[in-house]
């Protein structure tokens, strides 16, 4: 899966599952504020990532994810790790 494909897939489920307007998804924007995430929403984000990319996010990983770009980079890294494992 290329980086572009990963980004496209993430944006697709954020629009579909979290009902955010596609135009509000800007790489430099804050993920939590844009999606209006509360602690329960993070649980659902874990489920969606697992079902789309096949890996489990641990809660601590979210600490360093601030922007959409951080999120893309994180998923990209985990997918790459999984591919080489």
């Amino acid at each position: 899966m290329t980086q572009e494909e990963i980004i496209s897939k993430i944006n697709e489920f954020l629009v579909e599952e979290f009902e955010v307007d596609a135009e509000k998804i800007i790489p430099t924007s804050n993920l939590r504020e844009t999606l209006d995430l509360d602690s329960l929403d993070y649980v659902d984000l874990v489920v969606i990532i697992e079902s789309n990319f096949g890996f489990k996010v641990v809660a601590e990983d979210f600490i360093n994810i601030h922007t959409f770009q951080d999120f893309y980079d994180y998923v990209n890294r985990k997918v790459a790790e999984k591919a080489t494992a």
Partner: protein, 407 residues
């Protein structure tokens, strides 16, 4: 205190329709809501008969956070409640500024629980259940979700009393308002309709197996009945203190005047004449009326051989001299279980408002007990001033409600 308690809003989502107008039409024309669910047969059910209830489309009506916590029955309850609040003229800004409560009947959320356990077993990871599972899985799924969605600030809990849950919710709401403890309460009953929910009930051989003719399968009081047909959905009945309802300009639809209840103190699944008679008499005594004042009885009768016989005997014992019209709307709906006590108040209210008694369809031949009742075999044009609705449940829990027309 002894406040008058009135009904100001009604709403319904079930197998006879998705709103009051559709349901009224079905009741008037004697239309059955029963069909077959072949998935149940694949699961090993003895009977695939069920009420056919459409799934609501909530996307666009509710945001994601509100939707993910809703179980199937809570979705039905949401739809019934927005209809009831609309016709009660309860706007959200008014609700937020006043103490509105919720008492709703529900006694299972089997699908949500089963799917969660399946996920845990498959994934070995509880986080992967998602955030909504807990709010879907608890018996109070309806009240916890609706109280949040509608920002309710009054009393808030679920009544679990088997097939009398919906009726007791209205009875308890009635007492809370009568005694001055609350002014506005959203009451009702909800019942999930899926293969997870009814397997254990099917296992008791309690369901009709007249699968070759689904609309004829539910036949309360008929000599040839062979069991009930499970069904569901949700019904909402908004109760208010009369003075407060008038003050806020709410439509006054009818007055709840009696609530009788009892426990059989007997068998866990078999019904009992004495327990039912005590419930009926308590309702009449509380209402301060005589048996002769009841114009119509909406029977609990589910189409089981034993249950219908017991209720016919109990009704005959109390109403034998006056013989009011009796029908079981379960002949059309099937047994809506936790929802039934509330939906049958909605059905009876629709009859009262439109001057008819809905037929007990499929009643072709009486048995010895039902021969003593005045059963409406076809739609009967009739003015109803006062009706009584029975609900009885496993464990011997009985509830009888009496509702009077406002003049």
């Amino acid at each position: 205190m002894n406040n008058r308690v009135v009904i100001t809003g009604l709403g319904i989502w079930g197998c006879l329709g998705k709103n009051l107008d559709e349901v009224k039409e079905s009741l008037y024309t004697g239309k059955s809501g029963i069909g077959m669910d072949m998935e149940r047969k694949a699961w090993g059910y003895r009977s695939g008969l069920t009420g056919i209830v459409e799934a609501p489309q909530l996307k666009g009506l509710l945001d994601r956070r509100a939707r993910v916590g809703l179980s199937e029955e809570a979705e039905y309850a949401y739809m019934a409640t927005i209809e009831a609040m609309k016709n009660a003229k309860m706007e959200m800004d008014w609700v937020e500024k006043n103490e509105v409560g919720i008492l709703y009947g529900n006694d299972s959320s089997a699908k949500a629980v089963s799917e969660a356990i399946d996920t845990i077993r498959a994934k070995k990871d509880t986080t992967l259940l998602g955030s909504g599972s807990i709010f879907q899985s608890m018996n109070c799924t309806v009240t916890m979700n609706l109280s949040t969605i509608f920002k309710l600030k009054g009393i808030n809990f679920t009544i679990s009393a088997a097939c009398a849950s919906g009726s007791h919710s209205i009875g308890l709401g009635y007492l809370m308002i009568k005694w001055g403890l609350q002014k506005h309460i959203i009451c009702g009953g909800a019942q999930e309709v899926n293969p997870f929910a009814f397997g254990s009930f099917d296992g008791l051989s309690a369901f009709s197996i007249r699968e070759n003719d689904p609309t004829k399968a539910s036949r309360p009081f008929d000599r040839d009945r062979d069991g009930l047909v499970p069904s569901g959905g949700a019904a909402t009945v908004i109760l208010e203190d009369y003075e407060s309802a008038v003050k806020r300009g709410a439509p006054i639809l009818a007055e709840v005047i009696g609530y009788g209840f009892s426990s059989n103190g007997d068998h866990i699944s078999n019904s009992n004449v004495d327990g039912q008679v005590r419930s009926l008499n308590m309702a009449l005594d509380g209402a301060g009326i005589k048996a002769a004042d009841i114009d119509y009885i909406n029977a609990h009768a589910t189409s089981t051989p034993g249950g219908d016989r017991t209720e016919a005997q109990a009704i005959d014992m109390v109403f034998g001299e006056t013989r009011p019209l009796v029908s079981s709307t379960k002949s059309m709906t099937g047994h809506e279980c936790w929802m039934a006590g509330a939906s049958e108040i909605v059905y009876s209210m629709l009859m009262m408002q439109n001057n008819f008694v809905a037929p007990n369809i499929n009643f072709e031949n009486p048995d010895e007990a039902s021969a003593k009742l005045n059963i409406a075999t076809k739609t009967t044009e009739k003015n109803i001033d006062v009706f009584l609705s029975n609900s009885f449940g496993f464990g011997g829990t009985n509830s009888s409600l009496i509702v009077k027309k406002i003049k």
